[in-house]
Symmetry: C2
Subunit: 248 residues, 2 copies
């Protein structure tokens, strides 16, 4: 979509997502947050709580993308193996971070079980990502950002990353709804996409109140390109007498 794309990948870590027990909510939140930074989320992987898998996935993706984010597996229980796996991926020891320990003690001085204190351990050389909710931090090591799986905590960790992620142009979008079956729009959309190669035009069918339609989304870094593509779509659909509405 843009020659200056800065790319990111997300690794969602957790048996509970792949068993269907828990519905992931972090992907879409992170995607929008990255859009606002001018970073494009280009792939996501959902993996089990399995050390070898986490290590190989992190090492593959951190070489491929500007930024890698992980969610999940940094809690206190036996199945929380993300921090140790990432330390192994970077071939550094997992060490207790003095600041992390202090933050956690300030939040709850009475729970100093070794299991809770496991959450103060980070790979050597990592920088803490603060958690204003429950204090147990995430961490950044090189281009990898390790965050909690619980959405509310993941979101406050992202707040702490404000200013730490450098993006390119922010990806903007405009949407119009067309109230006609998607296959009747397809030829025109294909032509407009060809005419505006620096945009990404998506078509997302819906069925609402007995009417078939499609949301047509034009995304690009350059607002002028978006407007021009939207204008051409509108002219084409108007010629065919299709009903439309602006969405945003």
């Amino acid at each position: 979509m843009s020659k200056t794309t800065i790319s990111a990948a997300l690794i969602v870590i957790g048996d509970e997502i792949l068993s269907g027990r828990t519905q992931d909510a972090n992907l879409s939140y992170l995607a929008k947050w990255l859009n606002n930074c001018g970073v494009v989320l280009v792939e996501a992987r959902v993996v089990l709580d399995d050390e070898a898998t986490i290590i190989s996935t992190v090492n593959e993706l951190r070489a491929k993308h500007t930024y890698v984010f992980t969610t999940g597996g940094i809690g206190p229980t036996h199945d929380d193996i993300t921090s140790l796996s990432i330390a192994k991926a970077f071939d550094v020891p997992l060490v207790e971070d003095a600041e992390a320990r202090e933050l956690m003690l300030s939040h709850n001085p009475n729970d100093v079980t070794p299991e809770r204190m496991k959450m103060a351990q980070v790979p050597q050389g990592a920088r803490l990502i603060k958690n204003s909710l429950s204090k147990a931090p995430g961490f950044q090591i090189e281009n990898v950002f390790v965050m909690a799986g619980i959405p509310a905590i993941m979101q406050v960790m992202l707040d702490d990353l404000d200013g730490h992620i450098e993006g390119a142009g922010k990806v903007l979008s405009k949407t119009i709804n067309a109230f006609v079956g998607e296959s009747l729009l397809a030829a025109d959309l294909g032509i407009v996409q060809n005419n505006f190669p620096d945009t990404a035009i998506g078509s997302y069918p819906f069925y609402r109140d007995g009417v078939h339609g499609a949301a047509l989304v034009v995304r690009a870094v350059d607002e002028g390109q978006i407007n021009a593509a939207i204008d051409e779509i509108k002219i084409r659909l108007k010629k065919r007498n299709y009903r439309m509405e602006d969405v945003e």
Copy 2:
């Protein structure tokens, strides 16, 4: 978790998921459906509507897993490139399927635009996956099952796969809630996990009505193993006077 695991992977195809516009709902539905078949979903990938990416991802995962499922990108518009990409992954031509064409015409004889009829094309040698909702089919080629991205359509396509997926033992689970901070449970859970290596014990923290707790989920193929692990967890937590409740 089991030596006779039959594994599956899901590829979620679509820019709209990675832009945050659309929240995927197919992963968790498929995961539960596969659990009922005795198949374990061991990884999922979310990828852009990009031919090279789809081809390499399909070819990597179909060699690695018993079954691969894809969702998304089989509609009529220019960004729907899944069928062609999968034909290329298998190095076969994309051809119109006579039965698919007939099904679609029976549903709507008036829309025979080339764009709509694109949905009657499948890789040569593929078997149709029926879509009782809007007729445009998915398809199976070897161990790869290609389905629509719209959840309601994806779900009726899965209905059509009943009996086509051969699993091992069905993965069962039992859950108890413990009303205490997760870190105070961690040591006991680690011991029980060690004592029952054929189970997978997960701990999922929650915060409800001002009380911290964790859902403890024991999963295994063998119900006896689950019950024995749950019993040991209960004995251990009771000794510590933690409040518990059975969930299922």
